[in-house]
Amino acid sequence: MRTVDLAAEPLRELNAALHRLNAETNERRWRVLNPRGAHAVAAGIDAPVRVEIEGHVGYYCAGMNKAATVVINGNAGPGVAENMMSGHVHVTGDVSQAAGASGCGGLLLVDGNAAARCGISMKGIDIVVKGRVGHMSAFMAQAGNLVVLGDAGEALGDSIYEAQLYVRGKPKSLGADCIEKPLREAHKTELRRLLDAAQLGGEIDVAEFKRYGSARNLYHFHIDNLGSY
């Protein structure tokens, strides 16, 4: 395992070293000490490695991640795992706004709470939050799954396209064109898969969740709305 202490080594060198890795690398395990809230720690990795970060990070940690597993033992600032393509990002604390923003794939797991706009414009990423999510989460979400074990803030799923939202607690309100939908067997199976991927075991009853998605009323122009233009 390679250990990088950011109190002693520049962040740019860490990220450059991570960017040089490829699928055949033998340097599979990395440990990062003293991140001290730095921005873009371990962003842009494209190799099947595991990076463990010991402490709180700033903006855009593990952004654009591809294939790597990044574990943050602490809190993450805005935009953690933004635009993730694949792989696994796990935050043991809380995350700030726009977690998993525009993510295309992979799994983002948050043990604590996520602030506003979690999963904004998500495009295929799976996000599992054990705590609650803030307002405007899954705003304009296009594809993927957002699973929330706690409550959701105001305007959940505002202007949503086709992502699936599963909330065990209560959303404070639903955003424009977001509605509750039936939780069918296929959804329960999918939810079980997501919870298993998040290593939440069998202790959670998937029937406790409600499913939310798009009413698809914003997809097309309605003549009744002509007066609004």
Binding site: G37, G58, D94, S96, Q97, H135
Partner: protein, 298 residues
Amino acid sequence: MCGIVGLFLKDKALEPHLGGLVAGMLATMCDRGPDSAGFAVYGDSQPDRVKLTLRGPSAAVLEELTAKLAMTAGTPIAPVTRDTHMTILVPIAREQAVRDAIAASASDVTVVGAGRRMEIFKEVGRPDTVASRFDLGRMSGTHAIGHTRMATESAVTTNGAHPFTTGTDQCLVHNGSLSNHNAVRRTLVHEGLTFETDNDSEVAAGYLTWRMREGLSLGDALQASLADLDGFYTFVVGTESGFGVLRDPIACKPAVMAETERWVAFGSEYRALVDLPGIAAAKVWEPEPAKVYFWERH
């Protein structure tokens, strides 16, 4: 963008280190606001005395005034000069006379802050430079707030630098922009408040001053501002005994808080907090939108 910081000490043993800790926090926030900086420090008080912070074109101009102001005050005024600013202590009963004497001096000296305990310093320039010009690192006190400005809406001037004060021992730093500040300013002028600038943040400070003058606590005044102030904001507010934080309901502007047995701290980013003593074991969280947080000394 801008950066804001705040530190409220619970442990008296840390009071001599307040300035040093806040100087470190401000220096980290240079990245978020390199244009100007300012800070308010709540230090010692003297019975029946009010502390005025004066700003002038130079230390020499300020020092020239001191003999005259001491005569007006009728007592020694314990001047402490720090670069372009000077603090003086005057009897509360003579405050207006001293202010009149300053206004009459035609020396381009203005009163930038008044309080039993509050001192305010602000200047254009990189925040770490500004902090060292005022020797912030060696100031002591119970709590302090600071701001690093990246100007977007109005000119880079000392008057446009934060903190803003409009009342005794009250000041505010702000990250964001208010959209209804002109209407609120008109209301407040009608209520008898005066404003030095066209800046939106000064209106927020004036609004809180007005609410507290009408009898609300800091916490209740912040609560009321949620209904009356429109726009994007994270506020950190100082009073003689307290420290408060409020984010608007949209909560675009970043905010991180941390608390231990010894202190409560605010930063635009966690980076600003990393050198505080015991940070590794601190409770660290993002303040909720539209929720008032405040701490008072008892």
